[in-house]
């Protein structure tokens, strides 16, 4: 195992970002993007090297803790900048750098007309760096640096077109809502340090058994609060929908494939802690499955091509938390990886449509695009079938694992999950039909064109991954469960043991397939010809169950009002008055003291003499004593 490789792959994107910050604007248009993409591809290659290295080792010796340098030493707190290399973190770096590479390449085409082309790639590289820090770090504080780093880059990229007030506001919203989650994360870290005296993963996971049940539960809950913020679960999901104001590759990379899965990764990372508090697991499972359902319902009524996908992301993340909560960590990671494939593909396909239609995002004003954009259409449909869970696409296998785990824990979880699966197939079908089939509803004069190769090739690669991604973990026999065999040593006894017979497994799988077909069938029946059915697109769902509006009224507006009253009352009457009276006091003192300053030299000479005499008098009378 070579630590240089690991740290190089982590630091390369930072170097790329700094390079583009310094020289990006002087480079001719595509080069800033080409350099940024090459750097991420290099990171990916190094990640593959690390993976092969780890794969060659026996499965019980695949944990390494490398230190780059000592970061903070204060009292009993010692923190390193280090990398924790194990199958879980390597899985993460593989798919983060892999998906990032494709999206970087795609962005060269998508952002080609943008004025701040190199700035975009500077942020994108910085994001990849922060994400790699997040997943590779060997302690909770360095992870937090990455955690905040992805948050900051997410903010910059959501508000990338900050001249639009909505984009600026969406950036702020993402930042503020995430603060609530960060509060949970930090408090959990404080508790861990207080009770265990260390924050490195190795030491914490080795000694977590010493904690009382109450403490473990509190820590697990607080980490979950952090994950809820970052991964956009109920009740903190509102920021992700607004985050669609950012450029589409950003939505694909940050707000679908990678950053929002950081919460799921965190939960998987702290599986030894979650394992000790069963109640929190149940809570996570229910929050996840309810989020999945609520978001899927909201997705059925959206008219913005990206907002359907945003709600879909929230919903799929809910599934991942369902997997975490039921102890199916491998299934959750499996879904995370396959979701990254097909959701990135959906977003990039949507980006291709938006690009081709010159920034039109309303699906009601699209239609019949399959002939004009054949590659986009085919890959988008592949992604749809995959997310719908149609066998043998990747989504079928990963979602099947999660749902089977849910059934094992509680049939209620399974019922909600299965209904949501049907809804998923339906709302994505609605989007596909409205965008690519039916009548042409956009201006016929518009010059609609298929995107360039630099954009379609990533689509094709992702489509292939979406189809065959299920091969990572096929439940046909133990030999084909690659991901499970790979990740099981990480989770150990935190994994819920499978107690299902192969017959019931098979029945559940068959039912998953049926749900997918039903959802697809309903979508086809309803939307293949029609483009407007107000009865099944209520405004209540279109506004996301009114949750955002409720927050706006209950929190945002009242706190704005409170701030305003502070500005007009406290600021003016207390703070201003206090500072003004300080000024008045000085003025008053000056009014009397100015008389000393007569302007006559003899007066000053007199003062000096008096001073000299006083000092002399002191020395003569006192100093001798």
């Amino acid at each position: 195992m070579n630590s240089t490789v690991v740290f190089t792959l982590m630091l390369l994107p930072l170097a790329g970002s700094v390079f583009n910050m310094a020289f990006g604007r002087r480079l001719k248009r595509p080069f800033a993007g080409v350099i940024a993409s090459l750097i991420v591809v290099a990171s990916f290659v190094l990640a593959v090297v690390t993976w092969l290295d780890l794969l060659a080792k026996p499965s019980n010796q695949r944990v390494f803790d490398f230190t780059l340098f000592n970061w903070i030493s204060s009292g009993s707190l010692h923190l390193n900048v280090g990398a924790y290399v194990d199958p879980l973190s390597v899985t993460m770096i593989l798919f983060v750098t892999g998906i990032s590479s494709l999206i970087h390449i795609y962005s060269i085409g998508y952002m080609s007309h943008d004025e701040r082309f190199s700035t975009f790639f500077m942020y994108l590289n910085l994001f990849v760096f922060a994400m790699l820090v997040l997943v590779l770090s060997d302690n909770f504080v360095f992870t937090f640096l990455g955690w905040e780093g992805v948050g900051a880059t997410s903010y910059w990229l959501i508000a990338f077109w900050f001249e639009r007030p909505t984009a600026a506001a969406a950036g702020k919203k993402a930042f503020i809502v995430n603060r609530i989650g960060d509060f949970g994360y930090l408090t959990a870290v404080f508790l861990l340090f207080n009770y265990l005296g260390s924050l490195s993963y190795m030491k914490v996971f080795g000694s977590v058994g010493q904690l009382s049940h109450g403490t473990v539960t509190a820590i697990a809950l607080l980490f979950f609060v952090g994950a809820v913020g970052k991964s956009a679960q109920l009740p903190l999901f509102v920021w992700l929908v607004d985050a669609m104001e950012g450029p589409t590759p950003v939505s694909a990379l940050i707000h679908a494939a990678t950053m929002v899965t950081a919460g799921v990764y965190l939960m998987a990372r702290i599986s030894p802690i979650l394992h000790l508090s069963a109640g929190v697991g149940t809570l996570i499972a229910f929050v996840g499955v309810i989020t999945a359902f609520v978001a899927a319902m909201a997705a059925t009524s959206q008219t913005d091509i990206k907002k359907v996908l945003a709600y879909s992301t929230v919903s799929q993340l809910g599934y991942m938390f369902l997997g975490i909560g039921t102890g199916q960590y491998v299934a959750a990671i499996f879904l995370m990886v396959t979701h990254a494939f097909y959701k990135a593909l959906l977003f990039l396909g949507a980006g291709s449509v938006i690009h081709g239609l010159h920034d039109e995002q309303n699906i009601k004003k699209m239609g019949a695009l399959r002939k004009l954009m054949p590659t986009t259409a085919v890959t988008f449909i592949v992604a749809w079938l995959s997310i719908a869970g149609l066998p043998p696409f990747s989504g079928f296998w990963s979602k099947g694992d999660v749902l089977a785990g849910a059934y094992q824990k509680s049939p209620i979880l399974w019922v909600i999950g299965a209904v949501t699966a049907m809804l998923t197939a339906y709302y994505m079908g609605r989007e596909v039909y409205l965008v690519f089939f039916g009548k042409q509803r956009f201006d016929p004069a518009a010059k609609v064109h298929e995107s360039t190769k630099v954009m379609t090739i990533p689509l094709i690669v992702l489509a292939i991954l979406s189809v065959f991604g299920g091969a990572l973990d096929l439940p046909v026999s133990d030999k084909f469960r690659f991901l499970e065999n790979w990740l099981t040593p990480v989770f150990g006894n935190a994994l819920a043991p499978s107690s299902m017979s192969s017959l019931s497994r098979l029945t559940l799988g068959a039912m998953d397939g049926v749900f997918a077909i039903v959802g697809i069938g309903v979508a086809s029946a309803l939307w293949i010809r029609s483009s407007s059915r107000p009865g099944i697109e209520p405004r209540f769902l279109a506004s996301g169950w009114g949750i955002d509006g409720f927050y706006d009224r209950a929190i945002a507006r009242s706190s704005t009002k409170l701030s305003e009253s502070f500005a007009t009352v406290v600021e003016v009457k207390v703070i201003d008055r206090a500072t003004m009276s300080m000024g008045a006091l000085v003025g008053l003192a000056g009014k009397y003291l100015r008389k000393v300053q007569s302007g006559y030299i003899r007066n000053y000479a007199l003062y000096i003499s008096i001073g000299a005499i006083v000092i002399l008098g002191y020395f003569v009378t006192r100093a001798g004593a």
Binding site: V596, Q597, G599, Y600, I601, A605
Partner: protein, 101 residues
């Protein structure tokens, strides 16, 4: 026959008082300046006297510093006085009180 040290000290005290008196009661800026120099040199004399009496070279060293500072001060001070004379006919210190608070 040597002159006792106390004589020098008495002389320098006289010179210093003379200078101080001149500085306080005269209005002519040039005379005030001369009085200032007198005070400085009276102090120098004290330094030298004590240096001799105590056999410590330190006092004489200080005198050199005082001389240098005094020379620099004369340059600046006389320059100012000349500039003031150019602008006004008289040179009374009390006329120059525009820095009154």
């Amino acid at each position: 026959m040597t002159v006792p040290g106390s004589w020098y000290l008495i002389l320098s005290a006289l010179l210093f008082s003379l200078g101080a008196l001149g500085f306080f009661i005269r209005r002519n800026i040039l005379i005030m300046f001369m009085s200032l120099e007198l005070m400085l040199n009276a102090v120098n004399l004290t330094f030298v006297t004590f240096s001799r009496m105590l056999g410590d070279i330190g006092g004489q060293t200080v005198v050199f510093f005082v001389l240098v500072v005094a020379a620099a001060e004369v340059v600046v001070g006389l320059g100012l006085i000349v500039a003031i004379f150019r602008r006004r006919s008289s040179a009374t210190a009390d006329d120059l009180s525009i820095f009154r608070g």
